[in-house]
């Protein structure tokens, strides 16, 4: 969680932390979270009215700009363009990443083949690869989907791999002693036991995927949300620009919360109230 926070703040997604610590999502009253958001909006409003900067709109102006962008259709259109490579990249990274991570965790040779690459990729400032991706794949969907994937994939693979390697050995032996097949042990024991760490990786990976798509739309070709940000910045429509930025932060946050919900629902029901 600390890593998620560090990473999201590093790219300016500080709203993520304002909404609350996801670990406690089940037991904190909704009320406290609303207070947290209200407090943030209030501080923003005051900072905008001082004003902190000529280019810093108030919260209320930003909110109005958001409704204007929704009403004139430019934001829905932008999201329609952004979501395609984003969803495609995130879904591919999820399945590919978890699959590869499982394989590396369960199979020694796979581990030696693949893990060093992902360790390097995770350490590398992968945003620097984006011009290279453009060079090879042009400026279309493929390049943008790849931009999402090179950011999202390494952390998903590495977390899944570590989760599988650190699975509770005693449960695996239990599965064997009750005559479970290898496949049953993997699906009924290893996967659920590893799921908290896998999901931690997925949350980091999905957040990184959002970074990837915004970078791609700012660096490769201005389309979708990236275009909307660039366009309103060039016209000095700061309220519109902030509304766009805030909307993608909010979407990223909601996606992560949804992921948490799936995890508890499907894999770890015992954490539901705990």
């Amino acid at each position: 969680m600390a890593r998620l926070r560090a990473q999201s703040e590093a790219v300016g997604l500080s709203l993520v932390t304002r909404v609350g610590d996801f670990r406690g999502w089940g037991n904190h009253p909704v009320f406290l979270r609303l207070v947290s958001i209200g407090l943030f909006a209030g501080i923003w409003e005051i900072a905008g009215r001082i004003p902190v900067s000529f280019a810093f709109p108030t919260f209320s102006d930003t909110l109005m700009a958001f409704f204007r962008l929704m009403a004139d259709g430019s934001m829905p259109v932008a999201y329609a363009a952004t979501l395609q490579p984003l969803v495609l990249g995130v879904v591919l990274s999820t399945f590919l990443g978890v699959g590869l991570g499982m394989l590396c965790g369960l199979w020694r040779t796979g581990e030696w083949l693949a893990i060093p690459i992902f360790i390097v990729l995770q350490a590398a400032p992968v945003a620097a690869f984006i011009p290279m991706v453009t060079f090879v794949y042009g400026i279309g969907m493929t390049a943008k989907t790849l931009a999402v994937m090179i950011l999202a994939l390494p952390v998903i693979v590495l977390n899944t791999y570590k989760a599988v390697r650190n699975v509770n050995e005693s449960l695996v032996v239990m599965g064997r002693s009750f005559m479970g097949t290898r496949w049953q042990v993997i699906t009924k024991i290893i996967l659920p036991d590893a799921s908290p760490v896998i999901f931690a990786g997925l949350r980091l990976g999905v957040a990184a995927g959002f970074v990837g798509i915004v970078l791609a739309e700012l660096l490769i070709t201005p389309t979708g949300i990236g275009d909307l940000i660039t366009f309103h910045r060039s016209r000095a429509d700061y309220a519109e620009m902030y509304a766009t930025i805030a909307s993608i932060i909010a979407l990223s946050t909601l996606t992560l919360v949804f992921l948490q919900w799936i995890e508890i629902r499907v894999f770890r029901p015992e954490d539901r109230g705990a």
Partner: protein, 267 residues
């Protein structure tokens, strides 16, 4: 009390008892450490046999070899006359650390052995419910392991082993992670439970009192290398109140006798 054998050359089992598990010439090394050396042992059907000894005597290793979870370097295991080398339906294991799936409810944990065998959900849950009652956990079917005490968790482990209806139950220090009060209650319940279940129990423990309290037969193992030093049959009458056994003179004498024998191995 009857001392069946003092030397391992003597025949380990009296002719009258039919043995269900036969261990022949089992040796096992872990690197340079000789865990077991040429162990021959028979476990009589329907009895509770304890493997007792100080740490490092290979008792858990022997149990895991019988379970088919650890491969022996040489020697054979026969269960019901059939040679075995992997886990089988006639054996069920109870783990020292319970090995319960934290994400599964009590009933799913108990039914898990049947789930792995592809038994239909309603059928396996009916069976699981029966054994949950049997081990005294009625009403806890839908709790998760973290909501239970150590003793209750091990009852789940025992119910899971009972549910697959194996002839031989292998228990690896099942009470060592259970607190003292719960352990005593559980031991009493185990004595009661045995009278309803026509099963063979092989029980690993390092507690002399526990072994004497519950066992029909105690196999004393000596450490480094692990081999059989004595076999003792406590011959304690357990038909009455299990509470009274702790004050029985015969029980106390047997505990003392075993302690004198094991003392030499304790640094």
């Amino acid at each position: 009390m009857r001392i069946v054998t003092l030397q391992k050359e003597a025949t380990p089992v009296p002719e009258s008892l039919e043995s269900i598990v036969e261990v022949r010439g089992i040796s096992k090394n872990y690197g340079d450490v000789e865990a077991l050396r040429d162990v021959d042992l028979d476990f009589p059907r329907g009895k509770l046999t304890s493997l007792l000894g100080p740490s490092g005597c290979g008792k858990t290793t022997l149990l895991k070899i019988i379970a088919g979870l650890v491969k022996a370097d040489c020697g054979t295991i026969n269960v019901d006359g059939k040679l075995v080398s992997a886990p089988g339906p006639e054996r069920a294991f109870v783990f020292q650390d319970f090995a319960l799936m934290p994400w599964a409810t009590v009933i799913r944990n108990v039914a898990f052995g049947l789930e792995l065998r592809g038994v239909a959900r309603s059928e396996r849950e009916d069976k699981a419910r029966h054994y949950i009652v049997e081990v005294g956990l009625a009403g806890f079917e839908n709790k998760y392991p973290h909501e239970l005490s150590g003793g209750m968790r091990q009852r789940v482990g025992l119910a899971r082993a009972l549910a697959v209806n194996a002839d031989v139950l292998l228990l690896d220090e099942p009470f060592s992670a259970v607190d003292e009060q719960n352990r005593r209650k559980f031991q009493e319940d185990l004595i009661r439970l045995r009278t309803n279940q026509n099963k063979t129990f092989i029980f690993v423990t390092h507690s002399i009192e526990e072994a004497v309290y519950i066992s029909d037969r105690i196999v004393l193992l000596s450490p480094r290398p692990g081999r059989i030093s004595r076999i003792i049959e406590p011959e304690i009458d357990r038909s009455g109140d299990p509470e009274l056994i702790h004050r029985d003179g015969h029980y106390l004498d047997t505990v003392e006798e075993i302690w004198q024998g094991l003392k030499q191995y304790v640094e």
